[in-house]
């Protein structure tokens, strides 16, 4: 009886229904909580790229603290296209960088967040997105107001190998980016290269990769080249405005 086709069919159907019901109920019920967590994580990443919200581990009400810091320091945000024109009517925070990354460059919505510190200095934060070895790598890059020098970066990943590729989200790797420049002296866009440690001398456009994490490092390299490249037109415009 146990191996009759009817029984197998019924068993499989019952199993599918039970599992589907349980999983979708749980997924639906938990979605609001998960979305809130994701929103908070995003705000925290943006803040951390400009070295804010650093007491997040100590405070009791984490979400309120992050919201407070975000309100205080992130003063503006807008969306541009690859030609550097500001797009009206799109909320920069709602732009899904992963989705944008799938589109051809000339159709992407590119968000920029503006942070203003207590002393009035401004930083411009852009999200980056790319692929590592096992899955997406992403992060936020904060520029100083010369639209060239990097103020700070935050990287994260979904599933890079612990101890190897996963090292991209450690301060040791991230801090290397501070003060690096994405334009050379002649004003050409050169991005930041992640190199194999020890192969070429470091300069202001290069950082050391992670030994054993070459593929993830290459992913970060490609991500920077690709994403920063699409902002170049806008950065150039802003630089010219500043010079005049």
């Amino acid at each position: 009886m146990k191996d009759s086709n009817t029984y197998i069919f019924l068993y499989a159907s019952a199993m599918v229904i039970v599992v589907a019901a349980v999983l979708s109920t749980v997924a639906t019920l938990l979605k609001p909580y998960q979305d809130l967590n994701i929103e908070m994580a995003k705000k925290l990443d943006i803040l951390r790229s400009v070295e804010k919200a650093e007491r997040v581990a100590e405070v009791d009400d984490r979400n309120a603290y992050i919201d407070g810091e975000y309100e205080r320091y992130i003063v503006d945000s807008y969306v541009i296209n690859h030609l550097g024109e500001v797009q009206e009517g799109i909320d920069a925070f709602e732009v899904n960088v992963r989705e944008e990354n799938r589109k051809p460059v000339d159709q992407r919505n590119l968000p920029i967040f503006v942070a203003r510190d207590d002393d009035g200095s401004e930083n411009f934060i852009i999200p980056v997105y790319g692929r590592g070895l096992w899955g997406p790598v992403f992060g936020y890059i904060a520029f100083e107001d010369d639209y060239n020098t990097i103020f700070g970066v935050i990287f994260d990943h979904e599933g890079e190998t612990p101890g190897l590729g996963a090292e991209i989200s450690t301060p040791a790797f991230e801090n290397q980016f501070k003060g690096k420049k994405i334009f050379d002296d002649a004003g050409e866009f050169v991005s930041i290269d992640v190199i194999k440690p020890g192969t070429v001398p470091l300069n202001e456009h290069r950082v050391d990769g992670i030994s054993g994490g070459t593929i993830t490092g290459n992913g970060v390299d490609a991500m920077l080249e690709d994403t920063l490249g699409s902002y170049v037109a806008y950065f150039r415009k802003q630089k010219n405005v500043n010079h005049e």
Binding site: V19, L30, A41, A166
Partner: protein, 217 residues
């Protein structure tokens, strides 16, 4: 272990279920199960410990569920049933963590795929839980997961210590000051092939001490 002697739950036979996988029937070094994850997470000690704990939890639960269902599962679709049980369990846990313990979930999400495809879980379901009562199945699951876990932790210990000079992120070698004597970290140790060779050496040590495991030619 429970000292109340009339407890039949921990009879000699049951304790054996828990202890043999630690050595004689070790999942990694004897049954050859769960190797991929052993390579993926052992470059450092911390993820090795985290995965070991996660596998103990999932395996105990999956073994009990399959054992409860064992008389109803049609043999021709048993693989699908087993995998669906494991996968739903892991997804469920992941979803709950994502909602209420987001930080833990970010650390664990790396392992979700690794746990589902860990052949050690499926291997024990197939070999034990399908034919045994829930309690022994639970012990078998926990025992095997622990046997798997200690190998992971040993490999992780040596790879992190020799490869990056740290333990649990703490710079041991620097504290000991051995770099002053010209010692250098062996970057090779953190590459995946060295995990294989480390496990090979563990097998060597284990079998020299436990000679009945030696394979005949």
């Amino acid at each position: 272990m429970s000292k109340t002697d009339k407890e039949p739950l921990f009879s000699g036979k049951n304790i054996k279920l828990l202890s043999t996988p630690l050595n004689d029937e070790n999942p990694i070094t004897v049954q050859v199960l769960g190797i991929c994850s052993a390579l993926a997470v052992t470059a450092m000690l911390e993820p090795a410990v985290v995965l070991a704990v996660a596998v103990i939890v999932v395996m105990g639960a999956a073994n009990v569920i399959i054992s409860l269902l064992r008389n109803t599962i049609p043999s021709r679709i048993r693989i699908i049933v087993q995998l669906v049980v494991i996968a739903s369990l892991v997804i469920l846990v992941d979803q709950v963590l994502k909602a209420f313990f987001y930080d833990v979930s970010r650390q664990l999400s790396v392992f979700v795929g690794l746990i589902i495809t860990n052949c050690i879980i499926m291997g024990r379901l197939e070999a034990f839980a399908l034919g045994n009562k829930p309690w022994p199945s639970f012990l078998d699951g926990v025992g095997n997961a622990a046997g798997y876990g200690w190998i992971l932790i040993v490999v992780g210990f040596f790879r992190e210590l020799l490869g990056s000079g740290n333990l649990w992120g703490y710079p041991v070698m620097e504290t000991l000051g051995v770099y002053n004597f010209g010692y250098e970290d062996n970057g090779f140790m953190i590459l995946p092939p060295m995990a294989l060779i480390t496990v090979g050496v563990i097998i060597w040590v284990q079998r020299s001490r436990n000679r009945k495991l030696i394979e005949s030619q």
